[in-house]
């Protein structure tokens, strides 16, 4: 009995672990290159399928593989934080890559530690910089083999806020003409998400709106970027409080916003990638005025181009925004249908001002 019991436990647990291991990770493309092409290894502290951030990075590198002749390999470490550090160590010590690409603030410590250990390899970090000063234990070689790229999401937020206020002030949104408020739903209150919000508020004010009319709320909880039910609940509350449109900046939780926009007969903006394209339901598509793009993929593609020409600046951070087309908005037929020409022109002018530097958008970073 005793033996049977512990055996059962062991069998159960190992079985489950084996199964989750299958589900949680896996390489997209196996086998090292024998053709002499430069090999990129994209290591994700999460997984593909987020319809925005990581998917965008993957698409950009996939394009580099096709157009520029790289070899691409993807490693997904899953959402369990305890697996990230060993995951990165394993990924970096394997000799099956020339360039290791990874993103988000969470990876900067790991890369800062690993880059000096593998001086012959190159590292790309997107959406956060490694600590080049080398003061805090990481980057003992000043990370001279690391290229970091960060995004001015506050500029995207500025355009979203500007457009939102113009639409509300001109009573241009059918069925929401009487409403003055707008909402922003963030995943969690961290500096990166705050950067979107700060930009939004500043754009909203620049267009003549009042700060008090911007409702801001965070999903929080166990899965802030993966709880669409809670996202829907929060959006419903915002529409109930008189928001004409809600801009979700919360990954998959944002999918709940489009559903609540349909039932409330209101509007929404997409984020990171063109969500008019990624949504399948026509009623939900119709609620998406535009999407504010943060084009991680473009930035990585550009890095791949520069690296081929040996002009990529290792050992530094490059910060890209509107001027570099790394941030922007979707200007498609649906957008033209919903937004009057006057407002479209004004938005274009606002974007030009940010691009030329005559308007500086405040940042939370």
């Amino acid at each position: 009995m005793r033996y049977g019991r512990s055996a059962a436990v062991v069998v159960t647990v190992t079985g489950m672990l084996a199964l989750t291991a299958c589900g949680g990770s896996g390489a997209d493309d196996s086998g090292a290159s024998s053709s002499g092409k430069p090999r990129i290894k994209l290591v994700l502290n999460g997984g593909l399928g987020d319809k925005s951030f990581f998917d965008s990075a993957y698409a950009g590198l996939k394009k580099a593989e096709k157009d520029l002749g790289y070899d691409l390999k993807v490693v997904e470490l899953g959402s369990d934080r305890t697996k990230w550090e060993p995951g990165f160590e394993d990924a970096a010590s394997a000799d099956d890559y020339d360039i290791l690409a990874a993103g988000t603030f969470d990876v900067t410590d790991y890369i800062g530690k690993l880059a000096p250990e593998f001086p012959d390899k190159k590292f790309w970090v997107f959406d956060a910089p490694v600590d080049y000063s080398g003061k805090n234990g990481a980057c003992s070689n000043k990370c001279e083999n690391v290229y970091s790229v960060t995004f001015k999401q506050n500029e995207g937020g500025y355009l979203a806020g500007f457009l939102a206020e113009k639409l509300v002030a001109a009573k241009a949104l059918k069925g929401a003409e009487s409403l003055k408020k707008v909402g922003v739903m963030g995943g969690v209150k961290i500096p990166l998400i705050e950067d979107f919000v700060v930009g939004f508020k500043s754009g909203f004010q620049a267009a003549g709106g009042k700060n008090a009319d911007v409702l801001v709320q965070y999903v929080g909880g166990d899965k802030p970027f993966g709880d669409p039910a809670k996202g829907k609940e929060i959006s419903t509350a915002m529409y109930g409080q008189g928001a004409a449109l809600v801009w979700p900046v919360a990954g998959l939780s944002g999918l709940g916003t489009f559903e609540s926009a349909v039932s409330a007969k209101r509007y929404a903006f997409g984020v990171d990638s063109d969500q008019y394209q990624t949504l399948t339901d026509q009623a939900q598509k119709n609620t998406v005025v535009t999407s504010i793009l943060k084009n991680v993929g473009n930035a990585l593609y550009k890095a791949a181009q520069d690296d081929q020409k040996d002009t990529l600046k290792y050992g530094t951070v490059s910060t890209v925004g509107l001027a570099e087309d790394a941030v922007g908005y979707v200007n498609d037929d649906h957008f033209k249908e919903l937004v009057p020409e006057k407002i479209r022109t004004e938005l274009q002018e606002a974007a030009d001002k940010v691009r030329s530097g005559s308007v500086t958008v405040p940042s939370a970073l």
């Binding site: 019991r5 159960t12 647990v13 709320q217 166990d222 993966g226 709880d227 669409p228 929060i234 509350a237």
Partner: protein, 311 residues
């Protein structure tokens, strides 16, 4: 302060409480039935998740929302039976087996969605539809409550009907008596001729089915798609409600409703000028306070809850 009061008394708030409490109620009753049968079901989370995933996938591929819902509940029921089998046939620890099932559900659902849809995020690319909403004729004319009740999902109504159902089952049926007897003292139950295993299997199946209904609600009522790990800890909050409710049907009902209300309050207060970090702790602080209260009450009464209920 008055704006807080306005929020709490609005029909939008009440409607939100009903919606948010639905998965808590169903999963908590699932947990309660298992607990009283003498096997802790901490796999509620995994059962919900599997049901949510199966429901959305089957509904999407077959085009039938009803078939999707039934398959979702069926899968969760099977997981309940599996947990019982691991415990009863192989003697596995119910907690460890439960953790295993949760891991299996998390990885398994993601794997299923990826292999079928080639999408690692969820089934949002698959049109699967929702279970119908129900508006009782005339109910919308009742002030405040009418607005809150009308248009609620079918499963929300079922969740509220589950309380009298479980109470009736426990205290008015032969099966209920047997279930409680088995949970309190299996040897004694067996000595008077109760088929202990059969009762426990049935209890765990029912437990899984209730959790499954909660899961189906998430992916086919609350929203109309499945997202990886979308249960987001709701199964564990439901488990807290089981103990907070003192392992009694109406106690569990109030506890689950209380958690729903706390979360709805956090959502509605979120846009007021209160720090978001503070607001989002409301449900968790409430859980801790409630559990401490429960422990204190139990200590004062000096009487243990059913012997097998040792978490």
């Amino acid at each position: 302060m008055s704006s807080v009061l306005d929020v709490v008394l609005s029909s939008a708030f009440l409607a939100a409480v009903l919606r948010i409490a639905t998965p808590y109620l169903l999963a908590a009753f699932g947990g309660l039935v298992a607990e009283r049968a003498g096997i802790s079901n901490i796999a509620l989370e995994g059962q919900m998740l599997s049901a949510a995933c199966t429901g959305a996938l089957v509904a999407g591929y077959s085009g039938s929302v009803a078939l999707g819902a039934v398959s979702g509940v069926a899968v969760a029921t099977l997981l309940g039976v599996l947990l019982a089998a691991l415990r009863l046939e192989l003697g596995a620890d119910a907690i460890i087996a439960g953790i295993g099932l949760n891991l299996l559900a998390s990885g398994g659902t993601a794997y299923a969605v990826y292999s079928l849809l080639d999408d690692k995020g969820g089934t949002s690319g698959l049109k699967s539809g929702s279970l119908p909403s129900i508006t009782l004729p005339g109910v919308e004319n009742v002030p405040v409550l009418g607005d809150a009740l009308s248009g609620q999902n079918l499963v929300t109504w079922l969740a509220f009907l589950a309380a009298p159902f479980v109470a009736w089952l426990f205290y008015r049926t032969r099966f209920g008596f047997h279930l409680r007897a088995v949970g309190e003292m299996p040897d004694a139950a067996e000595s008077v001729g109760i088929a202990v295993r059969r009762v426990q299997y049935t209890g765990l199946a029912l437990s899984g089915a209730l959790a499954g209904l909660a899961g189906v609600f998430l992916s086919m009522g609350y929203v109309s798609f499945f997202v990886r790990d979308m249960t987001a800890g709701r199964g564990f909050i439901a488990l807290a409600a089981v103990f907070l409710g003192g392992l009694r049907p109406w106690g569990v009902f109030l506890a689950a409703l209380g958690f729903g209300a706390a979360e709805a309050l956090a959502v509605q207060l979120g846009t007021l000028d209160v720090p978001p970090q503070l607001v989002s702790t409301i449900p968790y602080v409430m859980t801790l306070v409630a559990l401490a209260l429960y422990a204190w009450r139990r200590k004062r009464r000096g009487r243990a809850v059913p012997a097998a209920a040792s978490l």
